[in-house]
Symmetry: C2
Subunit: 108 residues, 2 copies
DNA sequence: TGTTATATATTGGACAACCGATATATTTAA
DNA sequence: TTAAATATATCGGTTGTCCAATATATAACA
């Protein structure tokens, strides 16, 4: 919990430290995915594929924060947002847009 | 040096670890500022003011990387981008837009 | 069956981003 | 001149992001 002020452990987002978690939350909101799908999507965007040591701890933290849920099926685990995850993502997107206003070349 | 692949020390940007440096670079490109002005601009965007322990080490690292230059005048130091800083910012902005494509509600 | 490939997971080490506290220099006010 | 305010700077500690290496479980193949 805690996104308003600087205190509290972890940041699901928007502290500058929570950007990977934020991006993962955003990607999963568009389509539930398992870890490797997520890694490939991140590779498309960033240019190189995050290692397992990056992606799985991030997913674990999001799950422990109650923002995503798992659905296991054979060797894959599909992740999707919880209600709380949706709520946090909405908040984080507004925050993100305020912080990086002007960086995207579109309007303003 | 080094922005393409994962190696090398520090990231001026876009690794997820370099987001503050990236934002600082962007803000200074719009208007040269001293540290406190920068802190106030960040406060406007993020909602709370970064502490000196956040902002000054970041400026120091950018300076040591040759991306910004200082101009001292009395008790204030005005920071502005070097040629290399401009170049890196252009690269980083493209990278940023690719990574966060779709997050801004405008056109993606 | 055993081999190989895929998905998930952890560990150790490095660096970036953060705060609160503290310290120093300069400017302004008393 | 002394005191207070402002700007810059550093220190210690915590968390998040990152990789390479390693480990385990399941699936697909030989």
């Amino acid at each position: 919990m805690m996104h308003g002020k600087g205190h509290g452990p972890h940041a699901h987002c928007c502290d500058m430290r929570g950007m990977l978690s934020f991006l993962i939350l955003f990607l999963l909101s568009k389509k539930p995915m398992h870890g490797q799908e997520l890694a490939k999507e991140l590779e498309k965007r960033k240019g190189d594929k995050p290692s397992p040591g990056t992606i799985y701890p991030a997913l674990k933290a999001l799950k422990e924060a109650g923002l995503i849920r798992e659905k296991k099926s054979g060797k894959t685990i599909t992740y999707s947002l919880t209600e709380e995850g949706e709520r946090v993502l909405r908040f984080s997107k507004r925050q993100f847009c305020r912080i990086f206003m002007g960086v995207f070349p579109n309007r303003e």
